[in-house]
Symmetry: C2
Subunit: 306 residues, 2 copies
């Protein structure tokens, strides 16, 4: 049973046809779209992500710089998941009256700090008034031609890995304290790790964990036309297994490597643990089995009927 959001996406995708001479080589449905400019050495990755007041952040709990950081981190995480290196970003901002120039300045401070660290030049944007704060960020990244990590590349027998420990962001959102809250407020896009798994581990598929392992692994499995068998994933200290399985916004990487590369996967990369949680296998496309039992996709769905 697909979520409402995925259903809506599929309906839109069904109405789009990509002409044969288009430079778009990957369209709707992956973490990024992929453009192959004629003559260029690199493929270009594009991702767009919204940050909306009371959906993705709350102004009473999220300082303005943290909101700016998170807005950009979401897009950078998609670039990381494709094995890319950020080039630039565009920021569209719709601000209500409460967002005064001090708040907006703080928002850009948090955003530009992360942009500087990641090498993503702020190249343009749009400004408008609205009743509810919203920000849409497009990030463009580059990847060697033909080497973008897609969701659809996993093969039967590939080992499934996650980075970090899951559920921290969901825990932080609940407790608003300690390290979990800091992790929720300022997620770290796994940019270096994305390039490492692509270049050194020959990862076959990857995506970032934005909506929760259960729903995101389902999406990767659907894209690869395979099933997935996993055991309990590594759990963030203090979080529950439920939070680790279904909690969103961890922005860790979920990836698959060929079985032959399994022994080459280090226990950690630059301090971030890498944990094998299972294997891809033939079976109903998108089915996820946790400890041999079918796992329902309970992660975040913006369009679920509530």
């Amino acid at each position: 049973m697909a979520g409402r959001e995925d259903t809506l996406l599929n309906q839109i995708r069904a109405r789009v046809s990509i002409p044969r001479n288009s430079e778009i080589v990957v369209g709707i449905g992956d973490d990024c779209a992929v453009l192959r400019p004629r003559g260029a050495r690199e493929d270009l990755l594009f991702t767009t992500d919204q940050l909306i007041e009371n959906v993705h952040f709350r102004r009473d709990t999220h300082p303005a710089p943290a909101a700016g950081h998170k807005a950009l981190a979401r897009g950078l995480s998609d670039i990381a998941a494709m094995g890319g290196k950020p080039k630039f970003c565009l920021v569209s901002l719709a601000a209500p009256k409460w967002a005064d120039s001090r708040w907006i300045s703080g928002f850009y401070r948090g955003l530009l700090r992360l942009a500087g660290q990641a090498g993503a030049v702020l190249a343009g944007g749009d400004l408008a008034r609205s009743k509810q704060f919203s920000c849409d960020i497009v990030v463009c990244g580059g990847v060697p031609r033909g080497r973008a990590l897609l969701r659809s590349g996993a093969r039967a027998g590939d080992c499934i890995y996650v980075s970090g420990r899951l559920g921290g962001s969901a825990l932080g959102l609940k407790t608003q304290a300690g390290r979990a809250w800091r992790v929720h407020l300022r997620p770290s896009p796994r940019l270096a790790l994305g390039r490492f798994i692509s270049e050194q581990l020959h990862a076959t598929a990857a995506m970032d964990l934005s909506d929760g392992l259960s729903i995101d692994l389902r999406r990767l499995a659907i894209a690869s036309s395979l099933a997935a068998e996993i055991v309990n994933p590594p759990v963030f200290r203090g979080a529950s297994l439920e939070q680790a399985l279904h909690g969103g916004e961890d922005y860790e990487l979920l990836f698959t490597v060929p079985a032959i590369m399994d022994a080459r996967v280090p226990a950690s990369h630059q301090g971030i643990p890498l944990t094998k949680i299972g294997v891809m296998r033939r079976g109903p496309a998108g089915a996820v089995f946790l400890n041999t039992r079918r796992l329902a996709p309970l992660g975040y769905d913006h369009f679920r009927q509530s």
Copy 2:
């Protein structure tokens, strides 16, 4: 006196530095950002525009397909203003409960129809829930390397032209009837014209008229460090001179051509009138003189104190 929106933009721009090795060759402040991918034949143009409920459209007066058309037309118009050809677009949508699947389907129908005509493949996007409908669209276009039409390229003595007749969109918004209303609902991005003025007329500068001639010509003049002297522009049938001078959303092109090319500018291009309205000259940067009197920039400013 610069508008609040321009002031905010300038504050953001002042905080951004573009590294010397960046492929970004034009950043914040023009209709599009310009990327020069290493090895590529073309420069890539990027623009991002929001369409927000009760700011850019009203659901009681704008049919869903018209809203979708307009959302994309805004971005295509920026590509036209740089002399570019559209490649793809990304659509981020934040939809409240009232926007049911029928409305959203109509929105995409209008959008995809225009996308198909313009050659802009819908390559990705983002979906979220919100209280107020908003849509942010990024359009990417291509232009021969180094040939993007900028706002900053006008030289003293260049002739100033506009396409079409101005004020129709402002008139339509007021009367909600007749041809003016149709023009307001479904603006036509001047894509073929943008390439014509770039390739055939060697235009030195261009931008699209989105916020009104008075404020947009001021922006072009500031970018080119010149003043502008104009006479009354061509007025849309039934519109007032005020609407033609200060009304927004006409999405016609404002451009400058070298005096030596003046005789080569046809009276119209593919049925769209081209009218000389004045000349760029040395003087206070951004000053606009209408019939020798200083013209105040009264066009649309999202952040004006009201």
